[in-house]
């Protein structure tokens, strides 16, 4: 057989062909990514810049004049009692909902993981609130927690307790909303933990058995908890962010009341911006809200780098 010789070719022509191929690949890339890029700019980039820009103005929808006011809006925020109450309430709500929904989610996942029978059934039940219309379920909770005709207080009366006006009292409203929030979030956290649990190599548990980690307690601290590190961090972050974004239940059930006791960040922004149409002022609130989210994300990334990734 003859040997196959490759023609040496012209190096200049070859590099030219390479440039053409690169150009056509770049063109195809731009064509495919173009619509997304345009929409990204139009619907996310520009509005984000816009909200920062608006926060420096006194713009009100319906009035034509718009003035640059510098940081006036932010200074006003510092003295706005409603906004400060709103920040405080959002913080309280988050502090109640996050640990409860994370721990209950983890607990449910651990119990369900070890239980062979009924595992699918329990998982389904705990997950139901995640796919239920929150506005509708908030309405149901409002009925359940109704001070006079609600089943919760009727149940409490059976054991001789006079239940409070859950969603109507300024002392209890935030806790009641938080409990609804926990009820809604546990299932989501649970499935994330379940996914994290299945990703733990079985051999680690076998090694722990051989290494005399006899009790479930020992195995949890030796294997489960450290191996769930990344999942836990993620679940905590997403729980905090979702808690900060609480809106539906407030809008449906309490509308910030009674007496601003359930005034939360997004509700305040909604009222200022879309009801009173003070766009400039609401934009400043939005920037604060966005800054809070950014800080949370940065904290998560830093923790992720430092502590919970072992690779």
């Amino acid at each position: 057989m003859d040997s196959i010789a490759l023609p040496a070719g012209n190096p200049a022509r070859a590099s030219e062909a390479g440039a053409v191929a690169r150009r056509s690949e770049a063109l195809a890339g731009w064509r495919l990514a173009g619509p997304a890029l345009a929409l990204l700019a139009l619907l996310i980039l520009l509005p984000t810049i816009g909200v920062v820009a608006l926060s420096l103005t006194d713009f009100e929808l319906g009035y034509d004049n718009i003035h640059f006011v510098g940081l006036d809006n932010y200074l006003e925020l510092l003295e706005d009692r409603t906004f400060l109450i709103s920040l405080g309430n959002t913080l309280t709500y988050t502090v109640i909902v996050t640990p409860l929904s994370v721990l209950l989610g983890l607990g449910a996942a651990l119990l369900i993981e070890t239980e062979v029978r009924g595992r699918a059934l329990f998982r389904t039940i705990y997950f139901l609130p995640v796919v239920s219309l929150l506005v509708a379920m908030a309405t149901v909770w409002q009925y359940l927690l109704h001070p006079t005709i609600g089943p919760v207080n009727a149940l409490l009366r059976l054991i001789g307790i006079d239940g409070p006006n859950w969603l109507g009292g300024s002392d209890t409203v935030l806790i009641s909303l938080a409990l609804i929030g926990v009820w809604q979030a546990v299932g989501f956290n649970m499935v994330l933990f379940l996914a994290g649990l299945t990703a733990i190599p079985r051999e680690l548990y076998a090694a722990a058995e051989i290494d005399r980690a006899t009790t479930a307690w020992d195995r949890f601290w030796l294997v489960t908890w450290p191996m769930l590190g990344p999942t836990t961090l993620f679940v905590v972050t997403i729980s905090v962010i979702n808690a900060v974004k609480v809106f539906e239940t407030v809008s449906t059930v309490t509308q910030g009341g009674p007496n601003r006791a359930s005034e939360v960040l997004l509700w305040t922004i909604y009222q200022e911006g879309f009801v009173y149409l003070r766009v400039g002022y609401a934009s400043a609130m939005t920037v604060v809200f966005l800054a809070i989210l950014m800080i949370l994300m940065v904290l998560q990334y830093r923790a992720l780098d430092r502590r919970v990734h072992y690779t």
Partner: protein, 278 residues
């Protein structure tokens, strides 16, 4: 082991799980029960679940007549469908280009997408609302769907999925003479169904349940999606005809719950996948 022994620990575990399950199910049980009860029984505040006099017909007919319930459901379906289709159509080719093609600006765009992941609708709502209001298109399907035409999350999810696909698969398709668009349609999409399904479930659940944006751009009952419709219904009923209200909540909750119960595994996988990647 296929069968577990009945130990004390297991009994305790089952007791805990069952108690939790009861609490989680309670709202659904009362929702159904109350939707069947007449007004006077509801106000007697008794704990019985089975009504003495069935008022289901009365309650549900109110739910369907006081607000245009079918119209609300229809609005929800249309808006969710439009959002999903556009999101996928925009995200798929973009994610493919970013994952598998080299072009100037690609890295910058990926950075933009990662940043975009941090910006929720709540942050961009004001400027978009001002623009839509200026254009005079409030109270339209367009206004309901507009801010969600792009999902950076979808691009991000598909990007990760496509990066894991072997380059040789695409090179082989190129050698077979396919254009880049043909590669997306004939090679990428058929292989990306798991990611598309997961994202679809995530998207529909999110937008079917969303109240924030509809409450901003819609003031007419005829254009409202189910959550907002429910708010209007409550306003119309002055909020204390709980029988009719519960009937209405049953109607708006059932579609997604039914879909979930029919395809539980897919739902949970989809939400887990989109959750963990997000």
């Amino acid at each position: 082991m296929t069968t577990q022994a009945w130990t004390l620990a297991r009994a305790l575990r089952l007791a805990f799980l069952s108690a939790g399950a009861l609490i989680f199910l309670a709202p659904y049980v009362w929702m159904l029960s109350t939707a069947m009860k007449p007004r006077e029984e509801i106000f007697s505040s008794s704990l019985t679940l089975i009504p003495e006099r069935w008022a289901a017909v009365e309650n549900f007919s109110k739910a369907f007549t006081r607000v245009p319930m079918l119209q609300l459901l229809m609005n929800g379906v249309i808006v969710c469908a439009v959002i999903l289709v556009v999101q996928v159509l925009v995200a798929l080719p973009c994610a493919y280009a970013l994952a598998k093609l080299r072009f100037p600006g690609a890295r910058l765009m990926i950075a933009g997408i990662m940043l975009g992941l941090l910006v929720p609708i709540h942050a961009t709502a004001l400027p978009i609302y001002v623009a839509l209001s200026g254009a005079g298109v409030l109270n339209t399907y367009f206004a309901l769907a507009a801010p969600f035409m792009i999902s950076v999350f979808a691009i991000f999810l598909f990007l990760q999925f496509f990066r894991a696909m072997p380059d040789d698969l695409i090179n082989a398709a190129r050698l077979d003479g396919m254009s880049e668009l043909a590669i997306v349609l004939r090679v990428i999409v058929p292989n990306a169904w798991p990611a598309i399904t997961a994202f679809s479930i995530f998207s529909v659940v999110a937008h079917w349940n969303d109240l924030f944006w509809p409450q901003i751009v819609v003031t007419e009952t005829a254009m409202a999606p189910p959550p907002l419709g429910l708010i209007f219904f409550r306003a119309a009923e002055a909020g204390d005809d709980y029988g009719a209200l519960m009937a209405a909540t049953v109607v708006v909750t059932v579609p997604l719950l039914a879909a979930f119960l029919l395809a539980q595994r897919r739902f949970i996988e989809g939400i887990t996948l989109t959750g963990l990647k997000g």
